[in-house]
């Protein structure tokens, strides 16, 4: 089971990464990819829950906002309304918290790049690489 991470801006997803497509078996990997559409769907549908939860959960790390079968959605909300979403199968809450915090920092640094405009998709390979490194470290 892979982990899906997504940064969602005000109107659209800005960044998406999938960690741990581990299966050696190509057929199984194909199945996992098939699943990733489902994952996106789950994340999108839990955005509404984030909106509802932001008013009474601890800010900015909202912790678990949604569950779907075995899968869990954790969320983190930045002050500018950008949401960090993680779909997983029950990782430690602390680890996820640290991951969100570090990605948030990375995101803030990326915002300082004059060539990046707020609320547009993040295409930088360096950003991607760093997020993946953080995933290895914390998840």
């Amino acid at each position: 089971m892979s982990i899906v991470f997504m940064i969602v801006g005000r109107n659209e997803p800005l960044y998406e990464a999938e960690f741990g497509l581990k299966s050696a078996n190509p057929a199984q990997r194909a199945a996992e990819r098939e699943n990733s559409h489902l994952s996106q769907f789950i994340i999108h549908s839990s955005l509404d829950l984030v909106e509802r939860k932001q008013w009474f959960a601890a800010y900015p790390y909202l912790r678990v906002v949604d569950k779907f079968n075995e899968q869990i959605v954790s969320a983190y909300l930045t002050a500018a309304g950008v949401r960090l979403m993680l779909l997983h199968d029950g990782r430690s809450e602390e680890g996820i918290g640290s991951f969100f915090k570090d990605v948030h920092e990375l995101y803030v640094k990326h915002m300082l790049n004059p060539f990046y405009r707020f609320d547009t998709p993040i295409i930088s390979p360096e950003f991607d690489e760093r997020v993946r490194a953080l995933a290895v470290k914390w998840l």
Binding site: K109, H110, L112, N113, P114, F115, I123, S124, E126
Partner: protein
């Protein structure tokens, strides 16, 4: 040479301590916003590079007086002295970083200022469509403008740029001519 190099470093430190400071992030962001505006206004990358150079030139022709007055350096003895002064005193004084002088040509008329740490490019990552942009080209203009005010006509360009994948920043400075004193027209009346 070694001792004079040390003296330049010391002068640079002193000048740096005297200058009023500005927040580095604010500075980098302000510069970034300005470059972005140029990129949006001009579209053509060569035009943006030229514009940055011109802005730098206009800064340089002013900055020279501030530099001379506050750093306490007088007229330079030769181009080697000039090069060291730019790298060790001027860069330290205005940007807080020390540069190295390297790659002299055989005639001693061209050198490189090597900058390991460039405060302008903090946070910056060039997107592929702007890979020809000389993001810090303003620095070339500043050097050109400042040297022109002390009667040295130079050509100045970015030879290596960290943002474009090089391991360091190198500004190539080539002395073209030493300008002669030129009197204003009013002194030639009736001659």
């Amino acid at each position: 040479m070694a001792t004079s190099g040390k003296q330049h470093t010391r002068l640079g430190e002193q000048a740096w301590n005297k200058m009023s400071k500005v927040n580095a992030e604010f500075f980098a962001l302000t510069y970034g916003a300005m470059v972005m505006q140029l990129v949006q206004d001009f579209e053509d990358t060569a035009a943006v590079n030229a514009q940055l150079d011109t802005m730098g030139y206009n800064i340089g022709v002013r900055l020279i007086d501030e530099f001379l007055a506050k750093s306490g350096t007088g007229a330079c003895a030769d181009l080697r002295d000039t090069a060291e002064t730019i790298a060790k005193v001027a860069f330290k004084m205005f940007l807080g970083v020390v540069a190295e002088v390297a790659n002299w040509n055989a005639d001693g008329t061209a050198f490189s200022v090597v900058l390991y740490d460039n405060p302008l490019i903090e946070f910056v990552e060039l997107p592929p469509q702007h890979c020809e942009l000389l993001y810090s080209n303003v620095l070339c203009g500043v050097i050109r403008g400042a040297l022109e005010m002390v009667q040295m006509k130079v050509e100045c360009r970015f030879a290596r740029d960290v943002l474009r994948g090089d391991d360091l920043n190198e500004i190539r400075v080539e002395l073209k001519e030493v300008l002669a004193e030129q009197m204003d027209d009013q002194y030639f009346e009736g001659m």
